[in-house]
């Protein structure tokens, strides 16, 4: 996981520097969509398309798109797409992969799609070790219907169906889907990233590449969960989206690799390790200060 933190600066970068916002990704047919300002989904999708292109897999990719705001990409991604029902993408991906094992098959689902409606599907697909990659765009809210509570909504988070904030006694607890899937033997790779800042976006791309490589090597099921901003569904000003996400969702759905190379790390352990790092840093700062 340390490779995510350190960037090599002793050699020139393999890819020349480029303006991220200045061009349309190659695997996008048009830029028209109906997503709101400040939405994090296009960022995550962009990283996914770049990862596919960098791996040279564009001519053998099949995407299975769920139902949510991101369904708009079903018509604009320049890769073969099967549009699935809400929650059912992992099964559809299973059928497609079994008939086209040479293809890179991914699902694109939201938290309502994967963790609410389709929880059973994704669990069984992972347990089967199905050689597909499920990509979760997790914003902790039903964005398309206008901001309702999902199974990943953080405790205290306000939604239209938890107006005073999610109360565990009344609404139950959020599901850490990454942890749930990582512990299954069929899962080869599981990671959770966030697109709230540039480092997070870059990390998400590395995770997606890693997941796709896992699939291309035939190692089994892979999951990349991406926290994406939804200021509209959270009822916060657009500019506050990334900060709100990092503080509210990011605190619960803490980012990092949950399973890689056979090593399982729980979200709780990720948080504990981050706290230890912060404490050590504080100690060093204090020592330097004295």
């Amino acid at each position: 996981m340390s490779s995510d933190v350190f960037l090599r600066t002793d050699t020139p970068p393999t890819v020349p520097a480029q303006k991220v916002g200045a061009f349309k990704p190659g695997l996008l047919l048009h830029e028209s969509h109906h997503l709101c300002p400040g939405c994090g989904e296009p960022l995550a999708v962009r990283m996914m398309l770049e990862a596919i292109q960098e791996l040279g897999a564009a001519q053998r990719t099949i995407g299975v798109v769920g139902i949510g705001c991101y369904t708009t990409f079903s018509g604009s991604l320049d890769v073969d797409v099967i549009q699935a029902l809400h929650g059912r993408a992992p099964s559809v991906a299973t059928g497609a992969k079994r008939m086209r094992p040479e293809c890179l098959v991914f699902t694109l689902q939201g938290d309502g799609d994967m963790v609410n409606e389709g929880l059973q599907e994704v669990i069984h697909t992972a347990a089967r070790g199905e050689n597909v990659t499920c990509v979760l765009l997790n914003n902790g809210v039903f964005g398309e219907t206008g901001g309702h509570m999902t199974a990943t909504t953080a405790i205290g988070q306000r939604t239209k169906t938890s107006l005073d904030g999610r109360d565990s006694a009344y609404h139950g607890h959020p599901i850490l889907i990454g942890d749930l899937l990582a512990q299954l033997d069929g899962t080869a790779y599981a990671a959770r990233g966030s697109v709230h800042n540039a480092a997070g976006v870059a990390q998400v791309k590395r995770m997606l590449r890693r997941a796709f490589e896992t699939q291309l090597h035939g190692e089994g099921f892979s999951l990349v969960e991406v926290l994406t901003m939804c200021p509209t569904g959270w009822f916060v000003p657009t500019a506050q989206g990334p900060g709100y996400m990092n503080e509210v969702l990011g605190a619960v759905h803490f980012t990092g690799e949950l399973k890689a190379d056979g090593t399982l790390v729980t979200t709780r352990e990720l948080i504990a390790a981050a706290e230890r790092r912060a404490a050590a840093q504080q100690q060093r700062a204090d020592a330097e200060g004295t």
Binding site: G26, L27, L29, H30, S32, H33, I52, Q53, A57, A58, Q59, R60, T61, I62, V64, T71, S74, G75, S76, L77, D78, V79, D80, V81, I82, Q83, A84, L85, R88, P90, S91, V92, A93, T94, G95, A96, K97, R98, M99, R100, E102, C103, L104, Q120, E121, H124
Partner: protein, 361 residues
Amino acid sequence: MSRRLMEGSEAMAESAIAAGCRFFAGYPMTPFTELLEHFAKKLPGSDPPGVCVNAESELEAVGMAWGALATGARAATGSTGQGLALMQESFSEITRAELPLVIFNMARGQGDYFQATRGGGHGDYRHIVLAPIDIGEAVELTQLAFHLADRWRNPVMVYGDYLLAHTSEAVEVTPIAVDPLPPKAWAVDGSRGGSGHSRNVNPLGMEKGRAGIDPEAFWNRLAEKHAQIAATEMRVEAEACEDAELVVVAYGTPAKFVRYVIRELRRQGARVGYVRPITLWPFPGDALARAVRHARRVAVFEQNAGQMIDDVRLAVLGAAPVEAIGGISTDKSGFGVGALLDTERIRERITRVLPGQEVHA
């Protein structure tokens, strides 16, 4: 392939694989279970090798078949009434995605006629429903199901039951003659990525490269297709109707009992005829209307509280009185093999409604 004694489930699986079915997914449920078993046994060793997944639920079974179909493979799923009820949402969407799904419905009797012909899913959609009378016909109709599904890019259901799935007949799986089909240019194989011509198998009417959807035009196009299917794919078996005073309508395996009795009564001089819809949808209403032209009475034998009788009445349009002579009849398990499936009882019920015979009833 030679003639062999086969259980109906095995014969249908053999026939499906011979027709090129390469993917099957299902969830065990009586009396469908054996069909799944046979696919699980036969598909991996077929040439080319196929895949059978023992899915974790009916919802997943139909989803897997959906994905396999989208790649252009011939694929099928199945269950019995309850399991098919779980699949209805996907059935609707698969119809809208214009995918050639074949559904094996091993029903618990005939109580699922409405489910099969009306469907329980959302929106305007139609499935071709083929109801074989016996295993020999099931072998043919299974192949026809795959052909028609591809021909129309529309789901086709094979409506069988406990008797069809669990009894055995000596049958031979011989290919049926069919017209050539166009290539599946719509299927996804991943190869078009980045070319600007990638594909989209989509139930919402979304098209690649075009923003937004036009549901009204899309749904109208599907309705037009279903009207064409209704006009061209009716299949029916009719016997001895030309001078029949009584025409008995029945479908599926119970129709074999009815046909036996009708032939017996004919030999004895009774002016009785018989009509069997082979396609439950499109219902062969025109053929039925012609068959009952001279009839004084129409009787419907079905093992339920009265479902197909609605379609019979719509076809007959008051030209003759239509009477129900079947009814709910099942064994204790509820699988539909009831006491009414008996030629003596059926003979008694038919005789009771023979014009001129009422006084003896």
